[in-house]
Subunit: 327 residues, 2 copies
Amino acid sequence: MKRTTIKDLARQFGVNPSTISRALNNHPDVGEDLKNRVQTLANQLGYRPNRLAASFRNRRSRLIGLIVPQVNMFFFPSIIKGVEDIARAKGYSLIVLHSSDSLEREIENVQICFENNIDGLLVALTRETQNLEHFDLLREAETPIVFFDKILEDPNQQAVVIDDFEAAATLAQTFRETGCKRIAGVLGDPNLNITQKRRSGFEYALRDYPAELRFVNADSAAQSRVKMQELLASGFAPDGLFTMSDETLLGAVAAIEGNENGLPKCHIACFSDGLLPNYLNVHMTYVQHSGYEIGQTAMALLHEQICRETVLPVSNIVQMPTTLIRI
Amino acid sequence: MKRTTIKDLARQFGVNPSTISRALNNHPDVGEDLKNRVQTLANQLGYRPNRLAASFRNRRSRLIGLIVPQVNMFFFPSIIKGVEDIARAKGYSLIVLHSSDSLEREIENVQICFENNIDGLLVALTRETQNLEHFDLLREAETPIVFFDKILEDPNQQAVVIDDFEAAATLAQTFRETGCKRIAGVLGDPNLNITQKRRSGFEYALRDYPAELRFVNADSAAQSRVKMQELLASGFAPDGLFTMSDETLLGAVAAIEGNENGLPKCHIACFSDGLLPNYLNVHMTYVQHSGYEIGQTAMALLHEQICRETVLPVSNIVQMPTTLIRI
DNA sequence: AACGATTGCGCAAACGGTTGCGGGTAGAGC
DNA sequence: GCTCTACCCGCAACCGTTTGCGCAATCGTT
């Protein structure tokens, strides 16, 4: 069965397709009577507009691109939920692409987005990304872009992040308060902007505090566990643990709890989306930065840009508020 | 800056747009010389085809719809990764929609997919879904659909699942072997097909085994934890735990480990995507059903249907193999 | 040299919906 | 009876790409 088109409806009523189009779009140039009859028949026949045709004509696809470096367990699901909820409310659909932590694939993804004529793009960068040249394609097409979470310093960008430096510093303070002397920190990839900011915020807050800091880098729960096991095996017995993400938290806690030599009470402070900490049965302090809210905010910001129909030449970095939670 | 189109290229070479189109698509009707010159200039100018136009003309959008009941932590990320990897390899992009466990929203999602002229659809149903009528829209348009994980019994459907009955029975056996007498089972929503199958497989395998079975239903980690806490508070002290998903596993284990009265050694058997069990620092047996592979298989199956260009009137339920793992 | 086959390109329509413009009709006002 | 206006609707172009068909030029064959 073919799908019913505007032309089909036009034939039914013996009018011009343009009139049907206007009737369906509630254009004032169509008589009330005809308008009603058209709309009811359209419903009966289950008429659904062909967005492809409309998009093509209007040069608006009503499609949003979402590019993430990887599909992880904790942050990504929250993000996609937040983005999709807002996008749907505004009448947009989501094309989701992941870069597998590869710049090459990120570039591919941008091209895919361009070819699909997306109306706007949301991006979290890979750890390999050093500049934003590959987005020029979209910028020249005046397609608004909002970066979030994993971003680069760059003029004239729209972005949604948290105050990583400040949050890390706040977490660092808790180690001072609890009197920790040997702190293990599991950070993300050292190339990442957020890793650098969180580390420097952490170190800055403890710059005059006499504790031994040992940092390791890990991108996944598995890596975090291994790195932590190595650290423990090396004889370092931390009384404090700092992690930068839920993934690394999971791995590090597993390593510590699985440690055969046992371990004295260990104070934990971390960044988290808020779910995992409640299931680990250990006390900890965490900065909750909600992926859901970041996703919502980023999408809302993007939508503003789209409606404005002109890319702002100003930089706008939205810093989301975070909450410090003790459990 | 406007994007370069085929017409721009045609003007440059003083030829007809159709010739440019053929040159770019390596059509034999274009001379080698011209073909090369066109392709090199197209690269230089960074020409990217406007898929919207091509899709419109060809009635193929190269878009795949992916509808999931909810965006959870463990299963969904694996699924989307598997689907996207295959889809990308075949030249398709993904529109991701979640139904928030609501039939109404699922119906909306199907309509969105239809309007976007998707070439194929992958669906895991909500717990509210009782029939597949709302997919008729797409079926009439001859759009292939592949159901996965959460499906309904229905003739003439393509689906990818696991043998839930058998797998649950296998897990049940482990309780018999370890001699458990009081088994707590945390299952998903009772309306779900997989819940019913897994429960009946479980009960069947233990039909002649003298153990006390207590089942509770939970959709999330939080619910699972609460239900398990209630069960423990009621005086039931399980020596065996059976869960149906990673989410429920996480909640149930947290409840047991957080139990103030302590608990004797508890044998755990569950369904899992394979990641979480390694981080809980408890021994268990689990049936690994890889969301990644299910996603890949479902997408590959869908691609076959798309290429066949005619919807098969036969039912084809692919049962993925599972692995029993003890840790 | 005459003829058929092949090569290489142009022409134009089509996909479905949108929109500026124009025009016909009916009613109101003088 | 005339003009003016408001109301409704048709006409046709357009968005970028694809493709069947046609045709001229070239090539190969007898």
